[in-house]
């Protein structure tokens, strides 16, 4: 246990330490300005004089700026404990129906993520089945699928939302479409490989039973593709979450982690941005972990554990 936890702990501690260290020069200008307003003597005096100075040299000339870097209201880089406190405050100390609760916003994003993930997975599996069975699809679909992923999602997301809005579809579905757009691709790639994983001998065996293609699909190809499917789903669900967040940005949506990020950047609420970012990261890790768990249980039951 210790051997597994220790490396993780060391890495987290190192990142946290670096983060605190980076706060000092990043927030130096504000620190020195705050000190000056409080009546302390700072070098050089006057914010205009300091504007073009590097944070590091500012701190070297004003050692008091070190302490002032960790408690600002709108720091350039919030300290870890500030972000932690904000997460705690907006997660545990707010009613989950409150617009200031990250649980509220997280749920809005999560629902779009899950719907988009479901659509993307079904579409991905359907396309993969088509690619494996229809030669014309094999030749034609894959290049388009790859091309679709080369378009920046930030470019296409507003268009999807505007187009769907013009036909009267709003709210959850447009965001889910963007999630689906990102998550179908890894499922297609993984499932094509998975459905083709049975070897010649296994396919010959079914031929000797005069099995139909549908029977081959249900009894051999689909079960054999499970390990590939789960690997794809893990990538797909993380992509779905990104899609849902990106989908919330251009709408000026009232809710969701994306809206929270956008609002934070409008009003210079850096702590709020970081808290929403961490919430999104924790959500993604939880979703991926959950699929990993289902993967382990399923593959163990199927006797296919890696």
């Amino acid at each position: 246990m210790l051997t597994r936890v220790l490396p993780v702990f060391v890495v987290v501690a190192a990142i946290t330490g670096l983060w605190y260290l980076a706060c000092i020069p990043m927030n130096a200008h504000q620190s020195v300005t705050d000190l000056e307003r409080a009546g302390e003597v700072v070098v050089p005096g006057g914010a205009a004089e300091r504007r073009d100075m590097a944070g590091v040299s500012l701190v070297l000339q004003n050692p008091a700026a070190v302490q002032a870097a960790f408690g600002q209201e709108r720091p350039r880089l919030p300290a870890p404990h500030q972000v932690g406190a904000e997460i705690w405050e907006t997660t545990a100390n707010k009613r989950i129906t409150s617009k200031r609760s990250l649980v509220y916003h997280g749920w809005i994003t999560l629902s779009a993520t899950l719907l988009g993930f479901a659509i993307g997975t079904v579409a991905g599996i359907a396309l993969a089945v088509g690619i494996v069975h229809v030669r014309a699809m094999d030749m034609s679909v894959m290049p388009w699928a790859i091309a679709s992923q080369t378009i920046p999602i930030l470019a296409i997301a507003p268009m999807i939302i505007v187009v769907l809005n013009s036909v009267g579809v709003q709210g959850l579905v447009p965001k889910a479409m963007i999630s689906a757009y990102l998550s179908f691709f890894p499922v297609v790639v993984g499932m094509v490989k998975g459905l083709r994983s049975p070897d010649r001998m296994q396919l010959d065996l079914l031929t000797t039973y005069s099995a139909t293609r549908a029977q081959t699909l249900w009894k051999l190809r689909l079960p054999a593709s499970m390990p590939y499917l789960f690997t794809s789903l893990k990538i797909g669900i993380a992509a779905s979450l990104v899609g849902a967040i990106v989908g919330e940005l251009p709408t000026g949506a009232a809710g969701g982690l994306g809206a929270r990020l956008l609002a934070g950047s409008y009003y210079g609420q850096t702590i709020q941005i970081w808290a929403a970012l961490f919430w999104a990261a924790i959500l993604a890790a939880t979703l991926v972990g959950l699929i990993g768990l289902i993967q382990r249980v399923t593959l163990n039951r199927m006797g296919m554990a890696a």
Binding site: M201, Q202, D204, L205, L206, T207, T208, Y209, S210, A211, Q215, K219, L220, P223, M226, R301, M302, G303, M304
Partner: protein, 261 residues
């Protein structure tokens, strides 16, 4: 063609088109297999023995000549469930139990549920695996897995059993045992068996008819009708008759090889 002829090949040939030019996998194969025969195909790699078995099973299509299985084309025979095929590897599905694996062909062929269960029980007993139906493949040894795959091939009552080096991956002790069991299975079920092997003792011990083949191009060089009795204890392999047949097989293999050994 007598009434007992099950498989009949006439001037059969199969040429594969490869990037390095045509490869003649089979040429001028003439062979008759009668009902109840145990026929072994023996020869070095590339002699076409597996290819011939696959032609019987309609897994390959011959490019010349004629072949009939139960008086039909191989394709029609397959549709009529004429044969069960056992591959080199057991190829059991890890996500199905042993019983589930044996049920696979029955499900595909559309047998009724009750009939399926009954047949699974019967063939499990036939290959001496009763009680192992609910186990998963990984819980069984290699020899037991191969027995399960034979049970799978027997489940739908095909008259012909085609076996492509089924015991090739097993150690010799297990192999001896499975050979003995296969003989008793053959005696009880009266199937016609086509059996591909590398091993001279295995071929002589099992067969009523030994087909010696050689490569480049793949062809039959000798067909030996075994004078050994149907009842064959393992120690028959020390008898003079056995050794004589084995000798003839070895001579046939050597002659077929020519100078390129």
């Amino acid at each position: 063609m007598t009434q007992d002829t099950v498989i009949k090949a006439e001037n059969l040939g199969l040429t594969f088109e490869t990037n390095d030019g045509p490869v003649r996998a089979l040429t001028d194969v003439n062979l008759e297999i009668n009902k109840g025969d145990f026929v072994s195909f023996i020869g070095p790699s590339g002699c076409g023995k597996t290819t011939f078995l696959r032609v019987i099973a309609a897994l390959e299509t011959p490019t010349s000549g004629e072949i009939t299985v139960n008086g039909m084309t191989p394709d029609a025979a397959r549709q009529a469930r004429a044969y069960g095929y056992v591959f080199q590897a057991a190829g059991l599905y890890p996500w199905r139990t042993i019983a589930g694996n044996i049920r696979l062909p029955l499900e595909i062929m559309g047998y009724a549920k009750a009939d399926q269960a009954e047949r699974v029980e019967r063939v499990l007993e036939l290959v001496d695996l009763d009680g192992f139906g609910e186990k998963y493949p990984w819980q069984l040894s290699g020899g037991m897995q191969q027995r399960a795959s034979i049970a799978r091939a027997l489940a739908f009552d095909a008259d012909i059993l085609l076996m492509d080096e089924p015991f090739g991956a097993l150690d010799e002790i297990v192999r001896d045992r499975l050979n003995e069991e296969l003989l008793s299975l053959w005696a009880r079920t009266e199937k016609t068996i086509g059996f591909v092997t590398h091993s001279i003792p295995e071929a002589v011990y099992l067969s009523t008819k030994i087909v010696v083949m050689s490569p480049r191009p793949g062809r039959i060089t000798d067909v030996i009708d075994s004078p050994l009795p149907k009842e064959r204890p393992l120690d028959i392999r020390d008898s003079a008759e056995f050794i004589e047949i084995a000798h003839r097989v070895r001579e046939g293999l050597r002659a077929g090889h020519g100078d390129d050994v």
